[in-house]
Each structure stands twice: as C-alpha cells, then as structure tokens.
C-alpha cells in the first residue's frame, strides 16, 4: 500500500512539474483593456515566449469569479473597489498591487447618427430615448458614469432611460447596433470602434477619478511568471502601448 | 340509383384500383376478399381519397372529374358513410354523435327525423349515454342512424356486420333490411359474406385485386361460383 501511494505521489509531482513548466498565464482583465492588453501580451511573448491567456469581462464579474476560486494569476480591474474587495478577502499577493492606468469617459452615438450632444445635459433631451451604460450597480464604467451624472444632478432624469449592459464593451455594441440613441463608455473604447463617434468628451478634470489597479492573485500557480509579466506591464514599453490606445498611465 | 364510376385509377399497396362501371340498381353489394380495394372504392365515392384519375357522377351531378380538376368536397356530396370501424366520436354523447351531421333546420322529410330514425333502429333509450358504454350491436345502429340523419341521397356501408358474432349478425340484419325498405335510399354495401348479399341486395359486383371481375343480380344463385375464378 505504501509503495502504491509513493508511486502515485511521484506521478503527481512529475505531473505538477510538467504542468508548471511554461504554462499559460491567466489574466482576468476589465473589458475596456481588451485590445491594449492583447497587444502588450503579444509583445511580451516576443521577448520570452510566455503565452498569456485572457478572460475579459466586467471587473465585477471577474472579481466574483476569483472569489469563487477561478484560476486567475493576475487581476487587472477597472476600479479600486473591486480590488479592495479581493484584498479584504486576502486573495491578493501582498506587495504586488499598483494603480496603473486611468481613463476618461465619453458620450458616444452611432457613427451615422444625426444627433448632436454638446454636453451630458443633452442626455436628458427627448430625442434620446435610451442610453446604454455598463451596469451602474456593479460595473466600474457604469459606476463612474453614474457618479458623474449624479454630480451634475442629471441622474434622476436619465436613470429611466438607462439600458444597463454586462460590461462596457456591451454598451459600446449597443450604441453600434443603433438600438440605443447614445451611450457612455471609456474614451479608449470609442477609439477602437469605427461604428460610433464621440459626441462629447468628459474632461478628466471634471470627470470621476478613474483608476485601474493591477495585482497578482495569491493562489496563482505561477507566482514568478505572474510577477514577471506584472513587471512588464508596469514597464515603460508597456506604457507606450497603453498610451497608444488612449489610456492615461499613472506615475 | 345512377352512379357512374368511370376511368377510376388509384394505386394501392400492391395493385392499382381500376374500375369502370355504371350502377343502376338500388341496393348493390360489392363483394370480395379483404384487401381487394373495396374500402378504397367507397372512400373515392365519398370524396375522402384523391384518385389518380376518375370520373364519378351521381345522378346528374359530377362529383369527381380529374381531367377538368373537378372534385366536390366530401362535406358537400350528401353521401352517408358507415365505415368499418364505425368511427363514432368517443368524446361526444350518443345524441351529439347522432345530431352531428344534422342541419340546423332539421330534416325536411319526416322520414329522416330524429324520432323516426331512432324508432326504426330502436336506439331511443341510448341517446343520453356515452359512446364507449355501448355494446357492439348498439354502436352499429348508432353509426347507421348518424349517417341517416344527414338525409343522404346515397348510403355507403363498409362491412356493417363484420366482427359481430352470428347471433348479433342475425339481430342487426333486420335493421338493415328495415333501413333499406323504409328509406328507399340507394346503397353500396361492401361485404365478404354471401348471406348478406342474398338477404339485402339487388345486385352484386365481385371485386378482386382492384378490379370488378363479375357482376350479376343477387338473386342468381350462381354468382358466387362465378366469382371463384
């Protein structure tokens, strides 16, 4: 019996070692980071062949999945609150958390839309029947948007028109499809879509404090590889990629 | 009756039903073994099946003429049909079954009134019952009455006594005779029992494998032997 257990154990160790070798890194990241992160990962792979696999979605959904034990190595959230939640539960590797990027909000309309929106106040116009926002209850982009509209005392008038979506890219898609008259998304999202145009920009100074923190997940099976990729994302080379996509890199 | 069945052609399972006959007698038997196509022929006359080709005329009304795309729907043919399985509506009471084909105004002729028909067939006591409670013989009479209550101008009967034991056959036969005599309707009577032919019919058409192989007056005692070709 003892020999049997030892044999199984050695197989397990070999298996784990094989599994640990050059395995893919899993990064859970906010939907708005889709294009820029994929580009950064491609560049990184050119350096050392490390393959990175992404799970893009609303930061709220991702945080929840991590809490339930989803196998993430790195979490790149669109707001501090989601990261705080994980940190409180002791799921973040101490010392790896850093607020990396910022963003700004814009109001978008379909590329062929005749509507003119000078400012957020125009969202209360009768011509705007439906506005797509990432779910203002949970998703960072929606939370930021609501905070801004509340600051301008417009939220009460606008709330009945809101179509909440799962994540910010879904809000973008809703505007692209023409099923809503307008939407509020990140400037970086509007930039990658040809089917929408920016009707109005919310200057970062007036808008909410947007902050994208990044951290290594404590239960990661590849702490070293994760730390290495994190270091890359915090590097100047990666900063250039993010800036190219319109993000603001925090110092 | 004056029923013309001309150029009838209907492919069946293993042969083609081909009939060309003019029927003038009032009560005519269609005699033959099972599978000869007798039921299919009745279905064609009633308008329940589409022939490949056919010219069917009853009296001076053309019921089916495939060459000119004429096909009077079954519901307008005024032909009463008592099928082999009786097809009584199981979810309706006897009374509802009987009155199903009845026009709202009722029968113009006292002959076809509910009272008279239920009297002739002795089913007055059954009207309130459900169809499934009836005995075999009772079901027969109800099916017969139901067809009669539409005031048909032609009656088709498909093996009305098949599946009944001899005692019951003997009991129902007089009712059929009564119907024949009281209502004086033209009847096409399908059977494979020679006794019924002799008892009820004026003429017999013998069918086998989709064709009429002989016809003769029912009174001629040799018709059966002639049929056994």
């Amino acid at each position: 019996m003892k020999r049997f257990i030892r044999t199984i154990a050695s197989f397990a160790v070999i298996f784990a070692a094989l599994a640990g070798q050059a395995a893919d890194l899993t990064v859970f990241a906010a939907a708005s980071l889709t294009d820029s992160l994929k580009q950064a990962a491609m560049d990184y792979a050119k350096h050392n062949g490390q393959k990175v696999v992404f799970n893009f979605g609303a930061s709220s959904t991702l945080a929840r999945q991590i809490e339930e034990g989803a196998p993430a190595d790195i979490f790149f959230s669109a707001d501090e609150a989601k990261m705080n939640g994980l940190e409180k539960k002791g799921l973040i590797l101490p010392g790896t958390r850093k607020s990396r990027l910022s963003n700004s909000l814009v109001i978008v309309v379909a590329a062929d839309s005749p509507l003119q929106l000078g400012s957020a106040t125009n969202l209360t116009d009768a011509a705007i029947k439906r506005i797509a926002l990432a779910d203002p209850e949970t998703v960072p982009a929606g939370i930021y948007s609501r905070a801004y509209l509340q600051k301008l005392h417009l939220w009460v008038a606008i709330e009945p028109k809101v179509v909440p979506t799962d994540n910010v890219r879904a809000a973008l898609a809703a505007v692209e499809s023409g099923n809503v008259e307008a939407g509020m998304v990140y400037k970086t999202d509007a930039a990658i879509s040809k089917k929408v145009k920016v009707a109005c920009e919310i200057p970062p100074a007036e808008g909410p404090d947007i902050s994208y923190p990044i951290a290594v997940i404590k239960d990661s099976g590849q702490i070293d590889a994760a730390k290495a990729f994190l270091a890359y994302l915090n590097s100047n080379e990666a900063a250039k990629v993010f800036e190219r996509y319109g993000f603001i890199v925090l110092k | 009756m004056n029923l013309l069945l001309q150029k009838i052609s209907l492919p069946l399972a293993s042969f083609v039903l081909e009939v060309d006959v003019e029927i003038r007698n009032r009560v005519v038997a269609i005699f033959g073994p099972s599978g000869a196509g007798k039921t299919s022929l009745l279905d064609l006359v009633a308008g329940l099946r589409r022939p490949q080709t056919a010219f069917i005329r009853f009296g001076d009304q053309v019921l089916t003429d495939t060459s000119r795309g004429v096909r009077v729907p079954a519901r307008q043919r005024g032909i009463g049909y008592v099928p082999q399985d009786l097809a009584l509506f199981p979810h309706l009471s006897v009374r509802q079954n009987l009155l199903y084909g009845r026009k709202p105004a009722g029968a113009a002729d006292r002959l076809f009134s509910l009272e008279h028909i239920t009297d002739v067939l002795e089913i007055q006591s059954l009207t309130a019952r459900g169809v499934l409670d009836l005995s075999g013989g009772e079901k027969q009479r109800v099916a017969l009455a139901r067809a009669l209550l539409t005031s048909p101008r032609l009656l088709l009967l498909d093996e009305p006594l098949a599946g009944l034991d001899t005692g019951l056959k003997a009991k129902i036969l007089p009712y059929l005779a009564r119907v024949r005599d009281e209502f004086k309707l033209p009847m096409l009577y399908v059977t494979h029992n020679p006794a019924e032919v002799s008892a009820l019919c004026d003429e017999v058409l013998v069918m086998d494998r989709g064709r009429i192989i002989s016809r003769s007056p029912a009174s001629e005692s040799t018709w059966l032997k002639q049929a056994e070709v």
């Binding site: 709220s60 909440p164 | 329940l48 729907p73 519901r75 009463g80 979810h91 539409t150």
Partner: protein, 222 residues
C-alpha cells in the same frame, strides 16, 4: 422577499403567460400541418421549428437581436412605421420567450394530433363538417390533453428562459428583468440570500408546471 423581487416574479409570470398565448395559434397550426400533411420541404420546416431547441439559446438570441433590432428586418420596419422598439423592452422578452418555447409546444401538439384517428375527421366531413368545424369539434377536443401538456411545457420553458432573453431584452431593472436574469444578477452582486429566494420561487413554478404537464400527458394513454 421584498417588493422588487415580487415585481420580478409577477413580470416573469405574466410575460411567460402572454408569450404562451401568442404562440398558441401558430404552434397549433404548424403542429397540425406537420401531423396531417406531406409536402415538399416539410423536413425543412421541421428542422427550422426545432432549431431553437437545439441551438445554444444565446445563439438564437443573437439571431433575434439582428432581426428585431432597429437596423433589423423586422425591428427596422416596426421602428420606422410604428415607432415601436422590441430590443431592450418587454416586447423583446416576449419574443425571446415565445421563440424558445415554440418548439416544445409544436412537438407536443403534433404528437397529440397524430394520436387522433384521421378516420374520425374523415367521417365528420361526410357528415357535412367543413375543415374548421372538424378541427374545432373533433381534432382539438381529442388532442386536448396532449395540447394542454404542451402548453404547460412551453410555459415552463418560458419561465426559465435566460440566454436569448439577455441578448434581446437585456437586463433592465423593472422593465425586462425576469426571474432567471434576476438570479444571475443577484449572484453577480454577491447577494446570495436574494439569489436563493428567487431560485426557490423559480423551482416551485417550474416544478408545478412540469408536474401538471406530465400528469396530463400520462393521462392521455388511458
């Protein structure tokens, strides 16, 4: 359970009932045609009708989104001529539920119709009944048990619909949030007690509907 939760339950119940009512005449018509007639292209129709049953619900939802969106074939027409929106409204929920439960209704109804002896329908015609009267007085009553079973099955399916609904109608609180969408969102928000309460309600509803349906379908054999 709070008022908001009850609103979700009532909304889910009435839109499921309404969708079942809306698909009923079409479902019965298609089932009857499939049961009684042969025609070229029949198998194509059968396949089409079964698609929502077999395709991933979100895929069906995507197709509906394209068709009923403002730029879509049907949605564009409605938006332009009647100023009517389907996507992101309760009408979108209605469409999603109807389409997803349609195949179940057709299947059950078809089996029910096939169980009616066609001879009875034929004899009814010789007794002078037209097609509509035959259908109403003979076919439908005799198939009723199986049809009601099918209706309940379709209703239960509508109650539980998620994938197509979220695509076409989104999850707009108070407007398009159904029981399943609410459960999903409660889990998202980490509101587990609420999620379990809603789960319990949906299990009870679905259980009741399917149990009645099974009971009726079984009774048909007698």
């Amino acid at each position: 359970m709070n008022a908001e939760a009850w609103q979700i339950v009532w909304f889910t119940a009435w839109v499921s009932i309404l969708s079942t009512i809306v698909i009923l005449p079409f479902g019965l018509a298609v089932a009857w045609l499939l049961a009684r007639f042969e025609w070229p292209g029949k198998s194509l129709v059968e396949t089409f009708v079964s698609l929502p049953l077999v395709m991933p619900p979100v895929a069906t939802g995507l197709v509906l989104l394209q068709m009923f969106g403002r730029r879509g074939f049907i949605g564009g027409f409605l938006h332009k001529h009647f100023d009517l929106d389907v996507v992101f409204t309760w009408r979108g929920v209605l469409v999603a539920l109807g389409v997803m439960s349609f195949p179940l209704l057709v299947r059950s109804a078809r089996v029910a119709f096939e169980g009616v002896n066609p001879r009875l329908e034929q004899i009814a015609r010789t007794l002078g009944a037209g097609n509509f009267r035959v259908f109403c007085t003979i076919t439908l009553p005799l198939a009723s048990r199986g049809i009601v079973g099918g209706i309940l099955l379709a209703f239960a399916r509508a109650l539980g619909e998620f994938g197509a609904t979220i695509m076409v109608a989104g999850n707009i609180p108070g407007k398009t949030t159904t029981l399943s969408l609410a459960i999903f969102q409660s889990v998202q928000l980490g509101q587990d007690p609420q999620a379990y309460r809603l789960l319990a309600v949906s299990v009870v509803l679905a259980f009741a509907a399917v149990w009645c349906s099974e009971w009726l379908l079984r009774g048909k054999k007698h």
